[in-house]
């Protein structure tokens, strides 16, 4: 209901947020887009060579590491989606079996509290071929196991995915738990009475009912994936070779390693473009769904 109590205070209260949005975000983005057209190195230069304004992007598109970054972004996205699946499975089990709920919840959530800079050390060590799980497993006689994932470009991404799934599953579990708890308990009763198998119940009823939660999770997840930086620094620092570059890492690397602000800006702008491509459909989907559910509520 649109109410009439509009006065100055609420408008004034929005000023800081609007200022931040316009200056820091909108202004910042415009600035970065501008920089991406210049030849800025360590410090910004504000002249644009219009005859060759596309040079940073041109270079970016021909850069192998960028191509790898994009490829890894997709791999990471698909891999991290496991966190949602895993989170759902955990939530479903906790929800069904109430015993030990708070214990499991705490255990599954704690990785969220710790920076990967910290646990990255442990993970690196776990994957270390001299000290890690591999020698441990080999000593148990499982000599065929290869658990030194960080040592090779083919498997390093797996390790990164594992670490990020480990870190974020708990959060998705919490969201899923919330979603599950909001399902009318009578639906479970009805299904029991109907003798519906658990598999059918989950796949045909519960999961479709939670599609809103899943979309939320998917948005948060892709956000995390696109912004992924810490996990790469902590696990591999981009290596072996450049096999675990991701766009965020690439961008920072372009700024710090290469000392090339213009190039880094171009990469950052491309990240924004990717974000837009990934999210616009999701945003529209959510908006549409919300409108629809609002209509149904009426």
């Amino acid at each position: 209901m649109a109410l009439r109590w509009s006065r100055w205070s609420p408008q004034l209260a929005l000023v800081p947020a609007i200022a931040v949005t316009l200056v820091a975000f909108v202004g910042g983005i415009i600035w970065t887009v501008y920089l991406s057209l210049t030849r800025s190195r360590r410090i910004p230069e504000y002249t644009i060579d219009w005859s060759d304004w596309f040079r940073q992007y041109d270079r970016l598109f021909r850069d192998d590491a960028w191509a790898i970054s994009l490829q890894n972004l997709i791999i990471l996205g698909i891999g991290s989606a496991l966190a949602i699946v895993f989170g759902f499975v955990l939530a479903a089990m906790i929800d069904r079996e109430r015993r030990g709920e708070s214990f499991f919840r705490t255990v599954f959530l704690y990785p969220l509290a710790i920076s990967l800079i910290v646990t990255g050390a442990a993970w690196r060590w776990i994957f270390n071929p001299e000290y890690g799980v591999e020698p441990f497993l080999h000593s148990l006689g499982l000599t065929w196991v290869n658990a030194s994932w960080l040592s090779s470009g083919e498997t390093a991404m797996w390790a990164i995915i594992l670490a990020s799934v480990w870190q974020s599953s708990g959060f998705y579990m919490a969201l899923m738990l919330a979603g599950l708890k909001s399902i009318n308990s009578e639906i479970w009763s009805a299904a029991r009475l109907d003798g519906v198998s658990l598999w059918k119940l989950y796949t045909q009823i519960i999961i479709p009912m939670m599609k809103f939660t899943f979309v939320t999770c998917a948005i948060l997840l892709s956000l995390g994936v696109i912004k992924a930086y810490d996990v790469v620094v902590a696990m591999t620092n981009g290596g072996p070779g450049q096999s675990t570059y991701v766009p965020a890492f690439f961008t920072i690397q372009a700024m710090t390693g290469r000392g090339n602000l213009g190039f880094a800006s171009a990469a950052a702008v491309m990240m924004l473009v990717i974000t837009a491509i990934v999210f616009l459909p999701l945003v529209l989907l959510t908006a549409w769904q919300q409108r629809r559910s609002a209509r149904i509520a009426k």
């Binding site: 190195r41 410090i43 071929p129 070779g241």
Partner: protein, 391 residues
Amino acid sequence: ADLVVYHSWSAAPEVAALNVLKAGIEAKGHTWTDIAIPHNTGSNVNLMSLVTGGQPPNVFMESNPGVYRDLAGMGFGFPLTQWYTDNHVTENLPAAVAASIAVDGEIVKVPTALHIDGMVYYNKDVAAAVGVDPASWTSLDAMFADFQKVRDAGYAPVAVGSQPFQVGYLMHALVAAIAGPDIYSSIYGGDVDPAVFDDPAFAKTLETLRLFSQEAGREAQNRPWNETTNQVITGKALMQVHGDWMKGEWLGAGKVAGKDFGCVEIPGAKSVVVTVDAWGLLGGVSDEMKAAELDFASVVVDPEIQAKFSAAKGSTPVRLDAPAASLDACSTEVLSILADPARQVQSPNNTVDSDWQSSIWDVVFNYWGDPSMSVEDVIAKLKDNYETILG
């Protein structure tokens, strides 16, 4: 005055060396505020963001000439040529040092430590046990020829760490050693000439690098250089080829140069790469602060302090007139190598565009980690990068 000192050192020998300087500064009545940002977390951008953010440090460790140019452009330049002449420092610097502290003909840096980027440090106990003498190697071929013996005795011949920075340094040291100073300068000098990539000597360098890479096992992935060094120190490996700052690690482990470990240049090297760690001073500040910054400079280049500093850090003094008594076997070796100005080339950090340098690192590191990549691929890639970055 309170000097804000920005650096990227935090290893024990490094910190010990900084403390030598700090004592000197404090003796002059100044205080030292420390900002330490570790290597490879983007130190120079962080320096630039401090500058952009309006909180520039007074003294900063930086070699990259581009940074000095940027700073001068922003009004923070601090020309020192006159001061060096007035204080009679210039005449006591080795040629390589003198060359590296000037940017566009003007001295702007304060040299603090001298290193050779590609030195062979070997464990004398292991050498004795295996029965090889690195000092006798006259060529890389001779060196590789001995490796089998080392392996047979159950040691790793050479310790390597698969990190972009270690591989990048090894690469340019090898270019200087195998391809020689001219080709080196055409790649890592101020003016890059892509034509030299086609020189067979460059291809030879890459092939040699491949030989080194074959010594890297899976566990070498991401192994920090100090751990690499440690493999030699603890006698797991015979030797390491790296910047001679690894001497700091040896000293830190209580070992003595010439007795526990030996050092030689890369066998048959045509030239060596000289790294000069240097400080920059911030211009555009109050006169009082300028005086304090110059006090810092005078402490750094003071011969006595240089000697103590080098002993702590494991480097070689940047002055020829540092007290000789303080030099250990390896520093002596370094100074003797540096006696011939024609065999010295400057570290890329002093000369080359960081974008270009890091693109070389990327290519070389990929080559290192990917056995299927051929020498031709590397050359093509480098040429391509040249087009993009400098072309």
